[in-house]
């Protein structure tokens, strides 16, 4: 019976050795485990088997206790602690058996009880060991499943992160494209303006040239009259020259204003609101839009009607932004009349009317044309970005969408459209005073 504690110690060392063989702990413990394995066998064969029964049992109990205690002190063996602890009953049983043997008179009945006890303690180790093994297997399966899931989660996360980055990149690209499109729309409208601007500048420049030329002539005539002694005529000529200089200044300023307006239009909006006379801005852009279209199509003509409210108060707006809105509406209006003219009879008189008015808390600008009108089914869409009825390449589809942003979001105003297909279109912009 005294073999059991030794056998248990041997098996315990064997068990640990087998289980850490595949881990990085093995090199560290290899020799100690080897010694623990064979040491216990040698000790049993050399010492225990030749000693008294009680001595053999007490040393067996102590050896096994030593093994278990050693294992319980090493954190490297933590996974084996529960298994090592199952050896305590055997340690205790061997101890008790040894004490009993020491004092007993060798009663075989009592001896048998003790032997059953030892056998039971030994079996207990195996029972628990098997249970642990099963448990471990389950834990291992769960761990494997876990790591499998973790790999899957990592994979999915990586995929999602990649998609998120891709989307972010796309959003960024779209933003850049949008900015580019807005700039292009600006340039396109500037292109439409160029011809109008050229015409509008050419006219005042002609006057500057003509009036300075004629003034030089008048001075010659003035000299003549003075030599003749016709003082009255000389004074009249001098008066004319004075008027001419005034006209030169006036037309010089006119050209100056147009160039400034053009620069303002092409410049990025400062977003700075300043008190502005809507009448001046609206009239300027009406003319520019008209001449722009004229320059493109010599046959184009339209009657411009401007009903400007002389008492319009100055309101706080971003002039170049509202200028763009008006330019857009005028260009659209002229386009609509131009389209209608292609199919309408000779009696059709293209007309674009600009009206400004003021209410208690708003300044109202209306642009009305008697062109093709807007079909009802697209009326809801005209403010959407990229919506255009023009042939590909002719319109960006951003004009009204930008206008909407400028009026509603930028100025807290409203923009409304009324139209009857084939008859007229009227845009009404209200800006808070």
């Amino acid at each position: 019976m005294h073999l059991f504690p030794y056998l248990a110690a041997f098996l315990l060392a064997q068990h640990i050795q087998k289980n850490i063989k595949t881990t990085e702990l093995y090199p560290k413990w290899r020799s100690i485990l080897l010694f623990a394995n064979w040491g216990v066998i040698v000790f049993y064969l050399v010492v225990a088997s030749r000693s008294d029964n009680w001595f053999s049992d007490i040393t067996g109990s102590l050896v096994l206790w030593g093994y278990v205690t050693y294992i319980n002190r090493e954190s490297d063996f933590r996974p084996f602690w529960p298994f090592a602890n199952t050896h305590y009953p055997l340690i205790l049983a061997s101890g008790i058996y040894a004490v009993a043997e020491f004092f007993s008179d060798g009663s075989p009945k009592l001896n048998m009880y003790y032997q059953f006890m030892i056998l039971g303690a030994f079996m207990w180790i195996f029972g628990r060991g098997a249970a642990f093994k099963k448990q471990q297997k389950q834990v291992q399966i769960v761990t494997e499943k876990n790591s499998e899931l973790e790999t899957l989660v990592a994979l999915r996360t990586a995929e999602l992160t990649r998609q998120k980055n891709e989307l972010q990149q796309t959003v960024q690209e779209l933003k850049a494209t949008q900015a580019q499109l807005i700039q292009q729309e600006k340039l396109a409208s500037l292109g439409e303006l160029t011809a109008g601007i050229a015409h509008e500048i050419q006219n005042p420049l002609n006057f500057v040239n003509n009036f300075s030329e004629v003034s030089a002539e008048l001075i010659d005539e003035l000299e003549e009259e003075l030599n003749k002694g016709d003082k009255e005529e000389a004074i009249a000529i001098a008066e004319d020259i004075k008027q001419n200089l005034e006209k030169i200044r006036h037309h010089g300023k006119r050209a100056d204003g147009i160039v400034k307006g053009m620069l303002q239009h092409s410049r990025a909006s400062t977003g700075q609101k300043e008190p502005t006379d809507i009448n001046v801005v609206a009239d300027e852009y009406l003319r520019l839009a008209y001449h722009g279209l004229r320059a493109k199509d010599k046959m184009f003509n339209a009657e411009l009607i401007a009903n400007l409210d002389g008492n319009l108060p100055k309101i706080n707006i971003v002039p170049q932004d509202i200028g763009r809105v008006l330019l857009n509406l005028f260009t659209n209006a002229f386009y609509a009349t131009h389209q209608k003219r292609k199919t309408a009879g000779a009696d059709y008189k293209p007309t674009v009317a600009l009206t400004t008015a003021t209410t208690d808390n708003e300044v109202v600008i209306t642009v009305k044309d008697n062109g093709t009108g807007i079909p009802e089914e697209v009326r809801d869409k005209i403010m959407q970005p990229f919506f255009t009825t023009k042939p590909t390449g002719e319109g960006t589809g951003l004009g009204l969408s930008l206008s909407y942003d400028i009026v509603v979001k930028g100025h807290g105003g409203t923009i409304n459209v009324e139209s009857e297909e084939g008859e007229y279109t009227q845009f009404t912009i209200s800006l808070p005073r």
Partner: protein
């Protein structure tokens, strides 16, 4: 000789008056002005028989110079028909062809060369 100048720019009026100062004083030429094609037609209803020469801008809001030209050739072509010269800032071939085809006698481009115009007038008077 009475000349009607049609241009939507009001400042052409002192310009013509000063350029032809001597001629006006001598009574050789007198000018009348209209600011639009419509105004010119109203004027012509009364005075078409007096006007010898009509100088008209093509590019005007409302009735264009070319439309005015058609009206003139249609309504006032009893002999002697008035001489009509078209003026435009766009000196392109297309406008020129149209003006001539509609019955213009001459075609001038802006900025006006007044010396050239004077020469043309001299041959008209002569």
């Amino acid at each position: 000789m009475k000349i009607l100048v049609v241009d939507d720019e009001a400042d052409v009026q002192p310009l013509f008056q000063q350029r032809f100062r001597k001629e006006i004083r001598n009574g050789e030429i007198s000018f009348d002005f209209a600011l639009s094609g419509e105004q010119a037609l109203v004027y012509l209803q009364e005075k078409h028989s007096e006007v010898v020469l009509i100088l008209s801008d093509i590019n005007m809001p409302g009735m264009s110079g070319l439309e005015l030209l058609s009206h003139i050739r249609h309504d006032y072509n009893m002999p002697p028909p008035p001489v009509v010269m078209m003026i435009t800032a766009y000196g392109d071939e297309d406008s020129y062809q149209q003006a001539i085809q509609k019955g213009a006698d001459d075609f001038l481009t802006k900025p006006l060369d007044f010396n050239l115009l004077k020469d043309k007038l001299k041959t008209l008077i002569a």
